[in-house]
């Protein structure tokens, strides 16, 4: 059962990478990267259980926090004046 769950999560990660490459707008790509990050947290926890090493859970906690901080960072820096100048030129 654990292995089936791992395979399912790998499939979903591939789907989110497809959306990250395809997504027409910029926010689609950030959404896909965020989803990739949370699925990675699950993947690391499951792999830890499959291989019998519960120390991987520390990595899962760190990665959940880092993913959150990175998404907030990307959003914050996409609001700055440099990017607003770019989008105003496009309009």
């Amino acid at each position: 059962m654990l292995i089936a769950a791992t395979v399912a999560i790998l499939v979903v990660m591939i789907m989110s990478i497809i959306r990250a490459i395809m997504g027409p707008t910029f926010y689609d790509r950030i959404l896909a990267v965020n989803m990739f990050g949370t699925k990675t947290v699950l993947l690391i926890s499951l792999l830890g259980f499959v291989m019998g090493r519960p120390e991987f859970l520390d990595i899962a906690i760190v990665y959940a926090l880092i993913n959150f901080i990175s998404v907030i960072g990307v959003l914050h820096y996409s609001d700055s004046s440099v990017f607003k100048r770019g989008s105003q030129q496009k309009k």
Binding site: A4, A8, L42, P54, I61, I72
Partner: protein, 113 residues
């Protein structure tokens, strides 16, 4: 008792993977950014919760359960906040959702028996 734990853990893992895959399919097939965010945000949190509860039932060992509960609690707080941040940034930068037009709605309701 052991087999009950095993069966319930397998059940939670199964529900979790099903939700995860449906979220993945949703993010590929929905037409608009805001609908895709529904798919990603809702299924992210719920699938993570189900899979983590399934893992907790599988190995009742003190420290591991504590760490899994920490990951669960953090995901419950972080994931909706990230969705909110993403949506408010998109609205703030004038990304409009696709709405139905009024004439299309009236045509549909008048043509349906």
């Amino acid at each position: 008792m052991d087999s009950l734990l095993n069966i319930s853990s397998a059940l939670f893992l199964l529900i979790g993977s099903f939700l995860c895959i449906s979220g993945g399919v949703g993010i590929l097939r929905f037409p608009d950014f805001y609908t895709r965010m529904h798919a990603a945000g809702v299924t992210d949190t719920l699938a993570t919760a189900m899979i983590l509860i399934g893992l907790m039932l599988q190995n009742p060992d003190g420290l591991v359960i504590l760490k899994l509960m920490m990951i669960l609690l953090m995901t419950l707080i972080i994931s909706p906040t990230a969705s909110h941040a993403l949506a408010s940034a998109a609205v703030h930068n004038n990304l409009m959702p696709e709405l139905d037009k009024k004439e299309d709605n009236e045509k549909v309701t008048s043509s349906n028996p």
